[in-house]
């Protein structure tokens, strides 16, 4: 074969090979699918924002789609743990704020510090962002910081002859009067008093905070045996032993009972607002929201967004683009407008949105109050053992109610058990 012919053939082959490579590469980009698992795919508020922001991202990145998959909240941590353990994590990692430490501890999450430093959002004043910093690294960006609110049934309050409570004494008095007026068909308050230690701990915390206590001090040392926590436990016990709440009911069922008009007052997060739309028309106008009557509302980061450390670089870039988009001023404002909840980015609650959704002023006041007090559901010092901590406190608090035990002795036992847990 003449040499020029051979060279031509080789050149043609190489051209063909490069062309096919290029086609394959472009197809690969065209087929890029970012896996995003969440428990917020079909709720009444967050899902609307997620759908909109996912669509905007896909439009801005032709050829990239987001596979937005529902995993029920109860199974979420287990599912994520299995996915990470099997080296098949989702591309976009959505976690509750109290569970990401277990993932960070395994070095499964990317340190977002360098990404933020390069071209990330300005996190100054970003509500609840402190929770994402752990052992000198930033593992996530907080998507929601909340302050607990008082949701109340105005008709039941009126029927009992009481006003909206503004402190513990009024709250207790209203609960007693509404329970008495309910005659067994409705209760003054609704508490989560059954399985589900995380929710139990959060609701118990409302009483503890109001009494001026907290689970740990700033250094992470347990402070459960302090008088203020003991007083909080006593109040928690009082609400149950006086039968002011239905017993053995889960938080989600309590919310449903509230929407059905069978619970007079419920301390809960702003996500409860979306559920009120489910109430029957004749009941809807009675269901209202006010600031929590506790001196300091329960507060905390709700959910965070993160990135797996094991992703290939080109996927990391895409995920970071997604994180930048959702934390941009426009989409943070949209979060407020579409979900009716506050976004962590300062200034996201604009006067225009506030005019449309005046209740957000109450949400903002509660969030500011909780943030100013530095409150979070997740006790410092137990970041990676939160579930065990919650289980111990829940079991001992349940025992206190069942056995009618002295809160002081219960607090001492809690203190002893969580101290042992921390030292193990």
């Amino acid at each position: 074969m003449p040499s020029f012919l051979r060279r031509s053939l080789v050149a043609a082959f190489l051209t063909l090979a490069f062309a096919s490579q290029a086609i394959c590469a472009s197809q690969a980009i065209a087929q890029t699918k970012l896996r995003f698992y969440s428990w917020q795919t079909d709720d009444q508020s967050n899902s609307i924002w997620w759908q909109a922001v996912n669509k905007a991202f896909e439009e801005a990145h032709p050829g990239v789609t987001i596979d937005f998959v529902k995993v029920p909240r109860d199974d979420f941590a287990d599912t994520m743990m299995v996915m990470f353990s099997g080296n098949t994590p989702p591309d976009i990692v959505h976690l509750a704020s109290f569970e990401f430490h277990a993932f960070a501890e395994q070095d499964w999450l990317e340190d977002l510090g360098p990404w933020i430093a390069k071209d990330g959002p300005d996190l100054k004043g970003w509500a609840g962002q402190g929770i994402c910093s752990w052992q000198g690294k930033i593992y996530c960006i907080n998507l929601n910081y909340f302050g607990y609110l008082l949701f109340y049934n105005e008709a039941l309050l009126k029927a009992a002859g009481v006003g909206v409570p503004t402190n513990w004494e009024e709250y207790l008095d209203a609960a007693r009067k509404m329970t008495a007026a309910g005659g067994g068909n409705s209760f003054g308050v609704g508490l989560h008093t059954t399985a589900g230690p995380g929710q139990y701990l959060t609701e118990l915390l409302a009483c503890v905070l109001d009494a001026g206590g907290y689970w740990t001090d700033k250094s992470g040392k347990p402070t459960i045996d302090q008088p203020a926590v003991i007083e909080g436990l006593r109040r928690w016990k009082q609400l149950q032993t006086e039968h002011l709440t239905p017993m053995g009911v889960k938080g989600e069922d309590i919310r449903q009972l509230f929407v059905e008009g069978r619970i007079g007052m419920r301390l809960d997060g702003p996500w409860m607002w979306g559920l009120l739309a489910k109430a029957k028309p004749e009941l809807r106008d009675s269901l209202k929201v006010a600031l929590s009557p506790t001196t300091v509302p329960v507060g905390g980061a709700s959910n965070v967004i993160a990135m797996p450390a094991s992703l290939p670089p080109e996927r990391k870039k895409l995920v970071w683009e997604f994180i930048k988009l959702i934390t941009s001023p426009h989409w943070q404002e949209q979060y407020v407008a579409l979900t009716g909840q506050l976004a962590p980015r300062p200034g996201s609650l604009t006067p225009a949105i506030l005019a449309q959704k005046p209740f957000l002023a109450t949400f903002q006041a509660s969030q500011d109050k909780a943030a100013a007090a530095g409150v979070d559901r997740l006790p410092k010092g137990f970041e990676t053992k939160y579930n065990e901590f919650a289980k111990i406190v829940t079991e001992e608090a349940q025992r206190m109610v069942i056995d009618n035990a002295d809160p002081a002795s219960v607090a001492r036992r809690m203190q002893q058990r969580v101290t042992e847990l921390q030292s193990n």
Binding site: A77, D78, M81, F84, S85, G86, N87, A102, Q106, G184, F187, T193, T194, A195, G196, P246, M247, G248, V249, L257, R262, K385, N387, E388, K391, E395, Q398, R399, V401, I402
Partner: protein, 305 residues
């Protein structure tokens, strides 16, 4: 005679019979290895490592007996073992009492017997989680059907906090397990009853045995082999049950219904102590194997096999 030249024909020779047997058994053996032996080997491996979270491809941690040492000294483990034992005793007794009674009933001739047999087996057909959810709703302390019935009938003056009190929660879980478990005993016992030759009853009657004596000396001995098998399966079902108790009570309150299955799940998926959870699982397996072995041996001695 022309020799068969096909290569596998050699397997049909009497001298190669054992190889043929091995070959025929191979697919089944491979499945057993994959589905039972391999996971068991992984669990055994994990149980000797002080591992919080498992990760595919991660370096193995040094072997240690720490998990077993912790287990033996853990009050929580012994509490869970006690709860499991209590469930086994109560639920097994309940399943046999209700199941045998139901089998004896539907073994009689009466109009509608076919429908009665279907009804007896019905709980078996209801998915575990669905049944457990219904039980949880029925026994809701504030708005449940059972409390409403009790209050309406005047049997109680105040609602019973079924799922907030340790004893009551245990009773509800045990009742749900009996409800879903008795049909198996009933079906097994019914099959056993139908296999008893009528001549035995006739002979006993001629000898002057009354109904109680016929049950004691004819029915029960004849049902013994079936009951022993049912006993093993019911006990294993109760020990490994997770869904029913978890949905109804979540293992609470104050751990009153936290069985070994729930304790294992809690350690593995709530507290991320995979190594410790594997150790609990293996000890549970060993206890079940010892129990099953003892019952099967006793059955064999009694002439079952």
């Amino acid at each position: 005679m022309t020799a068969d030249r096909r290569p596998w024909s050699v397997l049909w020779r009497p001298s190669a019979r054992r190889w043929l047997g091995a070959l025929l058994m191979a697919p089944c053996a491979i499945m057993v290895l994959l589905l039972i032996v391999y996971p068991l080997a992984v669990a055994l491996d994990l149980s000797f490592q002080k591992l919080r979270i498992m990760r595919v491809g991660a370096q193995r941690l040094p072997y240690t007996l720490d998990n077993y040492d912790r287990l033996l000294h853990s009050p929580d483990f012994w509490h869970a073992a006690g709860v499991s034992l209590a469930f086994v005793l109560v639920v097994t007794a309940g399943c046999f009492a209700v199941g045998l009674s139901a089998a004896l009933l539907v073994n009689q001739s009466f109009p509608g017997r076919r429908i009665a047999r279907l009804l007896v087996a019905l709980p078996w057909a209801v998915p575990e989680v669905v049944a457990a959810t219904i039980w949880a709703w029925m026994f809701d302390g504030s708005f449940g059907l059972i409390n409403w019935l009790l209050l309406q009938s005047g049997l109680v003056q105040a609602p019973i906090a079924w799922l907030s009190q340790p004893g009551e929660a245990f009773i509800v879980c045990a009742a749900a397990l009996i409800w879903s478990g008795y049909p198996f005993v009933a079906v097994m016992a019914l099959a056993g009853l139908q296999a008893i030759p009528p001549a035995l009853y006739e002979a006993a009657q001629i000898d002057g045995a009354h109904a109680g004596q016929r049950f004691r000396y004819v029915t029960l001995p004849a049902l013994r082999p079936v009951c022993m098998i049912a006993l093993v399966l019911v006990v294993l079902r109760v020990v490994r049950d997770f869904a029913t108790v978890f949905v109804i009570s979540g293992g609470g309150p104050v751990g009153a219904t936290r069985s070994l299955a729930i304790y294992t799940y809690e350690q593995a998926f709530s507290f991320y102590n995979i190594g410790y959870a594997a150790a609990i699982g293996l000890v549970t397996l060993a206890l079940c194997a010892v129990f099953s072995g003892a019952v099967v041996r006793r059955s064999t001695e009694g002439g079952l096999a």
